[in-house]
Symmetry: C2
Subunit: 302 residues, 2 copies
């Protein structure tokens, strides 16, 4: 392992510990009628935390952060993770994908019942926005408002929820590559890209560096989904921590069904190169964690 | 009808027209995969718009508003209505109340399917926050951030979603009046009270006037639920626009089951008096619309 990778491993481990501690603190256990239980179950002790890491890496890419900016980035990272987690809870429900396994555990509705899963997801979405607008934490109002704007756009009808609606409508249909791309750009890409942009907001990054981060985020978001489709075919459920092969079972169009396995893998590598190129030309002082995260996304096994 | 009531009727009619036009504009029809259809169906052409009217009445209670403040109030009113509408969509789903009739029409999941109802609700919640943080509309950042904070708290685990969790857990159980009160304070009261407080935020109302508005909002929120329970017993489905008698059918505790019909009615009148008293002592220049709204809430027939 190179020194750069050792540093990245250490960075990841440090940041993940901060994210887990923050999530553990902010998703309170004592919500009314035990609603905290399914909320915590849905978020804690699982997940790669890719989105929080992207927020933090982007926020730190221009150099060291002040204390309020660092807190804003931690809050933004956790907020994005809550949106991601709630979408999985709702997506797993019987009326959607009807999945029983997630991160190697029974899904929330299996564990707590459908009504609790529905409410826990709803409450997680509200909590995501709550995290972005704390009172008395010295985070500038303009930053709080912009973070809310970025998250709302990424989560809503023209972002993640819209992408899921396309996904739902596409079952059993054959999509062209541009249509498939549009679906994933919204369903998964919007939140991943928004993670990078929210990090940039916390650091006050603008201009050419912001444009480069956007390009990086778009390529990364797409690569993530291509690899997801590849893994759905080649990995087993135990490695994935969720039901493997379900896209084919559900007759859903994927990059693999559209391009074939080898071409899908090659496409993911092209997107990785595009993301790295954007970083290389960004002029950012500390792009290394972002570069390593892109690498990780494409080379992951689950 | 007195002159004051004629004025109020005119005020209502003018403000409702603005709210309907704004909702119609902001819930776009061209969302991906027709997701706009269930979203619009869930919100447009129905509902009393009590929450937007409360936001607007509170915002105008200290006197005329500037243009950005008036726009903030309209956005806040619509945002609260979207949260209310999404909660009804999810609440009506088979895993919750399993209701087929709402505002005299088939519920969203009956009309569009459960998956679309779930997604439309999720997207409406995101859109609510999006409305509060528009770019380039001259609404101060501090106001945008505070509105998001108020809405997130009212909608989340310690507000509406938490109240629904208590509701869910209470089916078939007998609650004491304090427990029932706590449930409704969260389930319905939090969003009604937050409507009043968000209006105050748009107008920059603070101090004793804000405290009076909070007291008004708390009493109004509670009165609303007491009357809801009364109407569930005495009105028929056609008048209500939703299934009557469902609380008793579902073996849910209500103010009527707890206190009896006459005592519940008397309690609602006490709460109305409390709300009016708070307004009378508020020192606000224009409390009349708020007073008339409280009146309307308690004297309504559906």
């Amino acid at each position: 392992m190179t020194a750069a990778h050792e540093n990245f491993a250490q960075w990841c481990s440090d940041e993940l510990a901060r994210v887990e501690a923050a999530l553990n603190q902010w998703i309170v256990a004592d919500a009314p009628a035990n609603l905290g239980e399914p909320m915590r179950y849905a978020v804690l002790d699982g997940g790669k935390r890719l989105r929080p890491l992207l927020v933090l890496a982007a926020a730190q890419s221009a150099g060291p952060l002040g204390v309020p900016q660092a807190e804003a980035a931690l809050r933004a990272g956790c907020a994005v993770e809550l949106i991601h987690a709630y979408s999985l809870v709702h997506d797993d429900m019987p009326c959607m994908d009807n999945d029983v396994l997630r991160r190697g555990k029974p899904t929330v509705h299996v564990q707590f019942g459908e009504a609790q899963a529905l409410l826990a997801g709803d409450a997680l979405q509200a909590l995501a926005f709550e995290l972005l607008v704390p009172e008395g934490r010295d985070i500038p109002d303009v930053m709080q408002a912009r973070l809310c704007r970025q998250l709302a756009l990424a989560a809503g009808y023209n972002g993640m929820a819209g992408g899921q609606a396309i996904d739902l409508a596409s079952v059993g249909k054959s999509l062209t590559q541009p249509q498939l791309q549009q679906m994933h750009k919204l369903k998964t890409g919007a939140l991943l890209q928004s993670s990078v942009e929210m990090g940039a907001t916390c650091a006050g990054i603008t201009g050419a560096a912001l444009a480069a981060l956007r390009q990086y985020g778009a390529a990364l978001g797409l690569a993530f989904q291509v690899i997801d489709d590849v893994l759905d075919v080649v990995a087993d459920s135990a490695t994935l921590g969720k039901t493997a092969g379900k896209d084919a079972d559900n007759d859903k169009p994927t990059y693999v069904s559209l391009m074939g396995l080898d071409a899908a893998r090659a496409y993911a590598n092209d997107l990785l190169a595009e993301a790295q190129l954007a970083l290389a030309g960004s002029g950012l002082a500390q792009p290394r964690a972002l570069a390593a995260l892109a690498d990780m996304v494409v080379r992951r096994s689950h």
